[in-house]
Symmetry: C2
Subunit: 316 residues, 2 copies
Amino acid sequence: MGNKITSLYQIKYPIIQAGMVWCAGWELASAASNAGGLGIIGSGSMYPDILEEHVKKCQKATANPFAVNVPLLYPDIEKHMQVIIRNKVKHVFTSAGNPKSWTSILQKEGVTVTHVVPSVKFALKAEEAGVDAIVAEGFEAGGHNGRDETTTMVLIPLVRKQTNLPLLAAGGIADGRSMLAAMILGADGVQIGSRFAACIESSAHNNFKEAIVSAKEGDTILTMKDLTPVRLIKNKFYQEIQKLEDKCASKEDLAAHLGRGRAKKGMFEGDLESGELEIGQVSAHISEIKSAASILQEIWEEYNAAMQDIKNFPAE
Amino acid sequence: MGNKITSLYQIKYPIIQAGMVWCAGWELASAASNAGGLGIIGSGSMYPDILEEHVKKCQKATANPFAVNVPLLYPDIEKHMQVIIRNKVKHVFTSAGNPKSWTSILQKEGVTVTHVVPSVKFALKAEEAGVDAIVAEGFEAGGHNGRDETTTMVLIPLVRKQTNLPLLAAGGIADGRSMLAAMILGADGVQIGSRFAACIESSAHNNFKEAIVSAKEGDTILTMKDLTPVRLIKNKFYQEIQKLEDKCASKEDLAAHLGRGRAKKGMFEGDLESGELEIGQVSAHISEIKSAASILQEIWEEYNAAMQDIKNFPAE
């Protein structure tokens, strides 16, 4: 038995593996899609030729649909979109930018467009732009995040009230219970990042995967609010940024210290001290590095079991 | 059909009305208890003689159990506890302090003790102190809040994993869907603040109630992190604090600007410009000032309806 989300993407479970930079290559995306979810290639950390390689390899590795995530602020976006259209990728997830620019162009090529938003305001703009679905991502999510700091618990019902579009919840979700909770709040499915960042097929460095499974409550923070807010693990790099912020450093000084390539250094090269380790609060729940297929299966089973538990809840 | 929470407090619905300062007097607490929830008198804004008056009036207004919330850092706490014991109040909710100091003293007098925590760490300390139940409160909650910024979606499953104590979820909950979501995450019931702060029987100033029902997404923020973190509406008072923080004012300067009595000024006297307006993110969902009884009834009906909706969810 499916729903709006399984119909839209033609998948078995309404579970989407998020397209995280430096984690979500063809190995992860094809594994998630083969296991009945929707796998996403994260193009935010790829040059166009690398993206094309990943798309082609993903197509060889799975007969099931998969998606590409494209940050709309990506400088070479034109080339990324050409790769997507040329290779007949079925689904695109856009984020970090105005969905008006590419939605109808992609749709004319038969590509569905899902846009990631952190607030109702941007959800309504996405609907205006004609997107096929929305991901609403709460404050607890890893990586770049909105300025309103609205949590998943508050955000999902707010967005649901305003739109009938297929709606995915993201942020704070890593198992079947949080999946069911998000769906009760009004989502039609979930997008999961952190748990897949730490999975076997993730292209993240093993040091980063170990850092995710070791992370405990309070180990992540939404920081760099003067530049672009990002949730990451509080490592040495963060402490340095924090010191600068504590003495009211200028945006320029912060940007200079941040430099370039910090996310690659941390997440892909495994430098846990001076790299940027983007991950969600829900990392506190993640304790094992498993395969994408076993994660998907486990989440689906927990979700089904949680539905049965409700029979023992107090009721009228 | 009840559960751990309805048994512990001897109430009909596992719905607790939070003991908010300047909002939760005997009128609100008795109305919530009469309607089948657990009403709480918020003693944090009361002198001991005022608290005694509220307790006596509450006892006259309802035959059902109710509770008193006591911030453990309250200077005259000894006198507050004497009022509670002398008047045979059945339940105490403690917050903001070490639960070791009063838990066993109260329990010897036949009072149940429920402690409010923002993290797993403090939940475990509360369990060690022998409390009867725990309220775990997420980042999205109004008023004073923890430093780890863990959201309800992430916090409730973390606490549930570590303890079998009766567990109430708080933060981001204002209706029956969010109540059911919190229970799927592992709570046995919910504590609701913002929605009751804006209800007819709340002793808050009407200006504050109107500010709550007008609040939209992004209108609250967790601020004053250098002093004691508090979530409030971004009004003129907040903008001033923000300006001081932006130029790296010292803690002393911040404390001097904050002064005393800001919460009373805003919430009780209705000064929306220079008062402190403590409220949760979920205020964005609240659009009407209703009676406590109709709020409780509505939440319970929505919760029961949401359980039925699950039958249409995708499943195995």
